[in-house]
Structure formats: C-alpha cells, structure tokens
C-alpha cells in the first residue's frame, strides 16, 4: 500500500534561537537557565524554558531583575548578533541541501517544499533535525503538512507534545488528535491571524482553529480580507498562499538602534545618521535592492522626565537608489527638526520604503548620480565585507574610534565564528 507522493511543506525553526546559539560554543550553558539581553543590555529579549520556569519573562527590564537572576544562577549574555547571524547561515545552508524549493522566512525559520509520502516525509524531517543537531549543533523542530499554514501549526504541535520528539507530520497524526487540536487551540494560534481579527472573529462566534477552518469563505472575504480567506483554505489543506503575499512585509527596511549614552548635540547626531545610513545602504546592496523613499527619525526616551521630542523627516528621492551618499544626505535633513541642547535623544534610525530590485528602473543619464556611477556603495559594501564593518565609511562613519554613543554590550560572549581574534579558547 504505497501512498502517492504529495507536495509537502516542511517548516523548520530553531528552538530558543539565541540561547541555542550561545550554547554551541559554551558547554557550561548546556544545563543552565540562560537569558539574553537586548541592545544596550536594556531588557530580556530571549530566554530558555528553565529561565521561564524561574519566573523570568521576555521584556523584563534588566536593571530590575539582575539581582534575582544572579541569586538563582541564571547565566546572562548580551545579544551576540554576529554569532546568531553566522549560525543562521549555517542552518540555512544545510536546509538548502534538502530541497531546491527553499524559502528562508526569517532569521531562524524556513520553508522547504518536497514531494514525498507522509511516511517518507517523517523520516526526512527526522534526518533534517538530526543533521542540524550533529553538524551545526542547534536543536530544531520540523512541522510537515500540505500547506504552509498547517506546517507552521504542525511545528507548534511538535514543540508542545514531547512524544513527537520535535517532528510532527500533520497527515500522520491520528484524526481524533487533529480534531482535538483544532477544537482546543484558539484561532489566534494560526499564522497570520492577528489580535484585531481575533476579536472580530470572536464576535462572529469563531473562536477555535476548527471554527475558523469551517468558516464560510464568502463571509470571511467580505468581513475581513482575501488574505484571511486564503488562511482558511490553507487550514483545509488547500495551498493558497502565494509568495508575494508573504513577502509583502519585506517591502520596507528598518535600521534603528538605541544609544548607550543619550545624544543632545548636532555633531554627534550627524555622525550617527551618517553611520546608520551606510548600514542601511549595505543591507540594500546585499539584497540587491534600491529605495525610493527615505524616512529618518530620532526620539527621546518615553520614560524620561525631560523634554519629549520625536522628530522625523521623509524624503522622496528623485531616483530609487542604494547609494549611501544619497541616503546620508536625505537623513541629515532631520537635523534641522531636532531640539538640540534641550532634548536627550536615545534612539535614531532609518526606514526605507518604495523598495525595488536594483536595475528594475531605467535611469535617465542626466539624473544618474555621479558617485553612483562610480559605484561607491558597492565598493564600500565589498570592503566592509572583506575587512569588517567600521573599517571604512563615508564622512563621520569612517571614524576608526568607536564613538561614545555606540551600543553597550557588557556581557557579550565571544564572536567566535566571525572574528579571528575572538576564537573560543580550549584548554589542552
């Protein structure tokens, strides 16, 4: 009785991503509760189940819980984005070996589409999980189903039910198990169903996932959107999510950071904006994109007693570009709107929108920027890639010394997979 092969979607994601990355090269963390702090060590942004059981949660301000963490033997690390990024690349490159049809959905999750029978898919999912544990050293869960939405749900199920040991093939779950999951889980557990729709759905008597799967398609499309109607179809096992829809949120690029010390003068803010513009430009170049609209903003702390100020500026560029000179110039228009000398700014950033693939639009010769012709941005990006961020930059961003407002990361583990000088030491 060989079942026919189906086109099955595998959803793979890394368990407690940041913590798992930290554990690879630090065996002392293996059986310890671990929390990871946000930029500037402000609050907890990731933690493992042991730390959760001790009463810590995402978002706890670090200065309030630091003593309790020390008293309970909780290990603390600043966010080591270089390490996490490198581990993500390793995971994605292993996943690509398994399927040509591969879509990285976020830094720690991906979808693969593979033709297989459910039984074969189960073996393959197990092999994916084992390969990532053995080779890269991270634990993952794998959910397999006929649609992306169900594969996501299968993954959640794999995480919740220990006997599944991290792998759940939706079609192999006993029918009564699937029914009870549908009946007991709230609709908000479904991928893409937000808080607002949840309340609106509840008013219509649609509370559980099962309710949503059985909902009338026309009603859903009329009262909500075609997107939610597709979700309903997906819950019924009908693939309905086209790629563009899922990537829609990628239509903007945000680069923003908070500073370790507040900024209140124009020169320093000019520096920050130059640097951030170039970081944003580097990301655009990497994605092969150009931006048509540049927004720059800075803000004071919401919790501060002093002057509140949240200026922003939006500039429509004459021609979509990734050119750091153009982005910097646009960003500097923010400087005239800020209250320097009065307000203490703690955060600044860029929001780039109107993104399109580089080369999609024809440039009229007279409007082409002179430095763009010489490909300044590509050159900068390639030097930064080769020699490291901060080795070269335009204007103030080219300063070799780290300015005072740079990020505070006091409990940073070694950047052992990306920095030669920070290789992890082993005692012989």
């Amino acid at each position: 009785m060989s079942a026919p092969a189906l086109s099955l979607v595998f959803h793979v994601d890394i368990n407690t991503y940041y913590v798992s990355c930290e554990r690879i090269l630090d065996p002392s963390l293996r059986d310890q509760p671990v929390v990871i702090l946000s930029n500037n060590d402000g609050c907890i942004i990731a933690l493992d189940s042991r730390a959760k059981r001790l009463g810590f949660s995402m978002g706890d301000p670090w200065h309030r819980v630091a003593d309790a963490a020390a008293a309970r033997g909780v290990a603390v690390r600043s966010s080591n984005y270089e390490l996490y990024g490198n581990i993500s690349q390793r995971v994605m490159s292993v996943l690509k070996e398994f399927a040509a049809d591969f879509e990285q959905y976020s830094i720690d999750e991906a979808f693969l589409t593979i033709p297989a029978t459910p039984e074969k898919a189960k073996k393959l999912a197990r092999k994916i999980k084992d390969d990532l544990a053995r080779r890269v050293g991270v634990p993952v869960c794998v959910g397999v189903a006929r649609t992306k939405t169900l594969a996501k749900l299968a993954n959640k199920t794999a995480k919740k039910i220990p006997v599944l040991r991290g792998v759940c093939v939706w079609d192999l779950l006993p029918p009564q198990r699937r029914e009870s999951l549908f009946a007991t889980l709230p609709a908000s557990e479904v991928w893409g169903v937000g808080g607002r729709s949840t309340r609106k759905l509840a008013a219509l008597g649609i509370v559980s996932i099962g309710d949503l799967a059985r909902a009338d398609l026309t009603l859903i499309r009329k009262r909500f959107s075609v997107v939610l109607m597709r979700t309903v179809l997906e819950l019924r096992g009908v693939p309905a999510l086209p790629l563009e829809e899922q990537r829609a949120f990628k239509d903007q690029l945000i680069f923003s950071r908070s500073f370790s010390t507040p900024i209140s003068d124009e020169t320093q803010m000019r520096q920050v904006l130059s640097l951030y513009a170039q970081k944003a430009s580097a990301r655009l170049v990497k994605a092969g994109q150009v931006a048509g609209i540049v927004a720059a903003f800075c803000s004071t702390s919401l919790f501060s007693e002093g002057t509140q100020s949240h200026p922003s500026v939006q500039v429509k560029l004459p021609q979509a570009t990734a050119d750091p000179v153009a982005l910097t110039r646009a960003g500097h228009q923010l400087l005239t709107r800020a209250d320097f000398g009065v307000a203490q700014y703690v955060r600044a950033g860029f929001l780039l929108s109107g993104l399109e693939q580089d080369g999609a639009a024809q440039v009229l010769e007279p409007f082409e920027l002179a430095h763009e012709k010489r490909q300044v941005s590509t050159l900068l990006a390639s030097i930064q890639e080769k020699c490291g961020q901060g080795t070269i930059g335009l204007g103030y961003a080219g300063l070799a010394e780290q300015p005072a407002w740079n990020m505070k990361r006091q409990m940073l583990s070694l950047r052992g997979t990306t920095h030669w000088k920070e290789l992890v030491q082993v005692k012989l």
Binding site: I24, L25, P27, S28, R30, D31, R90, V91, S93, V94, R134, R135, V136, G137, R374, Q375, T378, L379, S382, G416, T417, L423, V424, Q425, V426, K427, L428
Partner: protein
Amino acid sequence: MKATLRARLVPSTTVTYPFPETRIPAGFPSPAEDYAATEIDLNSELIRDEAATYILRVTGNSMIDAGISDGDEIIVDRSLTPTPGNVVVAAVDGEFTVKRFSIDQQGQGWLLPENPAYPPLPIESGADFTIFGVVTRCLHHVH
C-alpha cells in the same frame, strides 16, 4: 583605443576601483593571461563541511606530541563520527578539552593526552561528557 573598449566591456556590476588610468603597452598580450584564473583557496582545501566546521584556539601543552601547541588554532569538524584514535574536542563538566579519544579492550573510554607529563582521563559512566567534534587540522604557528 583598445583601452577604452575594454573598459566599456566590463559588466556594470563589478567594482571599479578609482585608480588613475594606465596606458596599455602595444604588442602581443601575455600568454600567461589565459592561465590566471583562480587562486588557492584555503577555506575549500581545509574545510570539508562549512556548516559543521568550527575553529577554536588552544592553550596548554598536554597535546604537544600530537603537534598541537599553545596558541595554535584547530579546525573541528562536527559532521565526522568520532572513532577511537581521533583527536577530539570533548565537553567534560561544562568545559571544552582537546584529547585523543580511545576505547580499551575492557570497553572503557579514555581521553588521552599526548604529553607524558599528563595523566590519561577515564570517561566515567554517567559523567557529563559529550564529544563536540573531530579535530581535522591544526594551524601551528611556526614563524
């Protein structure tokens, strides 16, 4: 004339460095040009499975007879299944160590140093012990 033509043939995606233009001498092109294709790439020579390879730096002298010295970098491949005789990075009681992995005739596992001044370490059953990966190369500092 030739020089301008060349410049225009370069695809627009390549990085052009702002060097002053140099004149190309007339005459036959060098026959060596046809062979200037690639360079030796140490990453591809020394690393078998990139996703599974980690580089660590060692301190201490217990592995001196295996050619691993204080300050050397070692290439560790997690995709290889450790077999007796391999030099491995092991995690013992929450700490990494580098030793030769061995199993004696009684089935007892050992972590053996490669320096007579250090004692062999038995792998106790129930101990906090895992093998992180197999050491495939040692980058020894000679100069």
